[in-house]
Structure formats: C-alpha cells, structure tokens
C-alpha cells in the first residue's frame, strides 16, 4: 500500500509585491493591493502594509493568513515593549524582532516575504529585507514578492549608490529626493504590473519622514 499523501496544503500564495527605498531623511514603503489565489483574484483592495511603530512600517507579501498572524504578533510585542520601556521601538530594534519571530517558526515557517522600512535612531532612512525564515540585512532599497524579480534589477540599475552589490559596502541611503523616490517606486509598480499577473489594481505608498507618516495611492492596471 502506498503512503497516504496529504490532500491539502497549509500554504497558499496570495501574491503581491512590496518595495521599500531608504533616503537621507525619509523612507518610502509601497505595496500593491491585489490579493489572489491561483488564477483568481479574491479582492482588489487588501492592504499589505502595517504601521508597527511611529518610525517603522512593514510590508509583506506571500501567504496572507501567515502575514496577518505575523503582523499581530509583532504589534502585540511592540505594545508590550512600550509598556515596559515607555517608548516606541526603533526601526533596527523592530528589524531584529522580526528576524527572531520568523526564525522561531523555522520548522513551520511563516510564508511571508517582508520588507521593513523606517527611520533609524539618527533619523536616516533604513530598509531591512527578509526571507521567510528570518535572515535579514539592512539595505538601501529592496523588493519582495511575486514582482520582486522584475523590480529588483531595475532598482539596482537606478539606485547604484546604496546598492548591496557595491564593494566596499557604502552608506545605505539613496541621494534621491523624496518626490523622486516616490516617482521611482510608482514606475517600478507600473512596469511590474504589466508582466506579473499577481501585481496590479492599486498601489499603496507610505512615506515616513521627520514630520510623520503620509499615505499616497495610485491606480494600477486591473487586468
């Protein structure tokens, strides 16, 4: 008798793409709002971005139920931190927490591909990029998700200065201005939408800078 196979998978890929770009005194985090399963679209208006702290924003794509659970775990840990330390968590601290949280489930992973963006303790933009089990790196820009393979080379080309490809490793922020960075991100998504079926519908952008958090939206192709 053959071994019984599982007839259901605990994972699903709900698609979507996330991007983050760090600047000298700002950080831009963006994600599309499409949620799919297989060849179907479940909804065109689901946010993948969450504000974890006042200087720290996370965007995640992958398996939505795991993403949501991860967001809740981080949000509650942050609340406990605030009770214990009477201050908000800094972005690098949240970066470490996210990595530890992901590795905690190393043997039944959160199927979640994250980019964490925010301002570090000096007010400079910072972006951390993760894989599903928590290995992470501080970079000047990153993309994750279904459209990442389309967007990442384009960002490497446009943002050579804070690139993780440069040796020796240079200061990880782009010299672009905030509005130029936002424009760049919009271009990324417009292009990724053309060729990636899981990316589209609407783009949600969150901009973090000294004055606080701002949101912008842009329509993307719905096909």
């Amino acid at each position: 008798m053959t071994k019984q196979q599982a007839n259901w998978s605990p994972y699903d890929n709900n698609g979507g793409t996330c991007v983050a770009v760090a600047g000298a005194d700002y950080c831009v985090i963006a994600a599309d709002t499409r949620m799919s399963t297989g060849y179907n679209i479940l909804t065109r208006d689901y946010s993948k971005i969450i504000e974890l702290a006042d200087r720290c924003v996370m965007a995640s794509s992958g398996f939505q139920a795991d993403v949501r659970a991860l967001q809740k775990v981080l949000a509650s840990r942050h609340l406990i931190y605030q009770h214990q330390h009477n201050k908000q968590m800094s972005c690098p601290a949240m970066g470490q927490l996210l990595s530890n949280t992901l590795y905690y489930k190393r043997f039944f992973p959160y199927y979640s591909f994250n980019v964490l963006g925010g301002l570090d303790s000096e007010g400079k933009g910072c972006v951390f990029t993760y894989d599903a089990v928590g290995s992470y790196e501080r970079v000047g820009y990153s993309s994750q998700g279904s459209g990442a393979t389309l967007i990442m080379p384009f960002l490497d080309n446009q943002l050579k200065s804070p690139s993780p490809l440069l040796l020796p490793a240079k200061d990880a922020v782009t010299p672009l201005s905030e509005s130029e960075a936002i424009d760049l991100v919009k271009t990324c998504f417009a292009s990724a939408t053309e060729r990636d079926i899981y990316t589209g519908d609407k783009l949600e952008i969150v901009i973090l800078n000294g004055s606080g958090i701002r949101r912008e939206e842009m329509d993307l192709r719905k096909d």
């Binding site: 071994k3 599982a6 007839n7 699903d12 179907n40 479940l42 909804t43 208006d45 689901y46």
Partner: protein, 221 residues
Amino acid sequence: LQVMDSAPVENSLMSSESDIQRTQYPYVTGTSVVGIKYKDGILLAADMGGSYGSTIRYKSVERLKPVGKHSLLGASGEISDFQEIMKYLDELILYDNMWDDGNSFGPKEVHNYLTRVMYNRRNKFNPLWNSLVLGGVKNGQKYLGSVSMIGVHYEDNHVATGFGNHLARPILRDEWHENLSYEEGVKLLEKCMRVLLYRDRSAVNKLQIAKITEEGVTISQ
C-alpha cells in the same frame, strides 16, 4: 474557550515525521455561498444542498445562520464542521451576552474570531474544512468578509466561496454598484445562483436568501 480536536486519523502505514500529518477529507459538503452589500445592509444566498461525494444526499440543509444580533454566517464545505463552528460561535455570543455590558459583537469581531479559529486549526494540521462568508451591519457600518479553511481572509463589497468565486464574482464585478436596492440585490443574487445551478453539479434548486440590516436578520427559503 477550549478547542476540542477531533480524533486523529490513525494509519499504521503512515510514517511519523516531525509533523504528524492529519489527512482529512470532507464528507458531506455544501457548495457556493454568495454575498453582496446593498443599500441597507448585506444579502447572502446559498442553496440548500448537502452532497455526499457525487450524490446529492440532503436537500434541505440550512447553510445560512444568524450569529448574535448583528451578523450572518454562510458556510460551504464540510457541513459537520460548520455545525461545530456554530457551536463555538453560540458559546462566544453567550459569553458576550453574559457580560451584560450593553456591547455586543459586531460582524468585524466575529469575522476576526473565525479567522483566528480557522488559522489555528490549520496550524495544528487539523483544519475545519469550510469556506465561510460573514456579513453584518452594526451602527450603520456594513461589513462583508470571507475566511477560507487555511485562514486566508478578506473583506469586500461582494464575496463568494467555491464555484461562486469562478462563476458569480465576475457577474458581481460587472453589475454590482453602491446603493443597490433590496429588489435589485435579490435579482443580482438570483442571477448568480441560476448560473451556479446551471454549471455546478453540486447545486440544487432550493435556495436560502438572507438579509441583514441594522434592524435584524431575515432568512427566507
């Protein structure tokens, strides 16, 4: 609240790996549920069939049930798991009422609770084999959401499960608009259910249509 596991499927030929696989099959299943927001609230529709594999064994299964004062739940998938979910929800609502604090769970809260239940069961590799549609109105706010058996959830102006996702959603994307009247909403749902009856082999021609508004729930057959 204790979540009781059903007895694990024992098979001496299954090798035990680091994760004990609990394979499950749905036995008696319901097919699609379709839901839309309309001007005064939410409309849900589901047929009354319970299939046992390829035969249609039960033709009077109620797959739309009210939850508390403000919500309606529709389920497709394993009927027995749906009945267990109703037990959990009844307990949830009971405890909520026992607080007697003037507050009662709205659809958002119930949806969140269901999402957590479904997700935690899938974490234990023992899922409740259902796709749920949760709709309701509280304080004028309309809410319509969906949860799948692995915990994927979302909220939208129109949702559907199973075959409804393939056949009904496109119709709804084309013809749904804000402020549908009750009659228009029912007509739209009936159109979706008719298409499902034509093309879904597990659909039967007996329907439940449920309406929920600020005032309350009505379910008609």
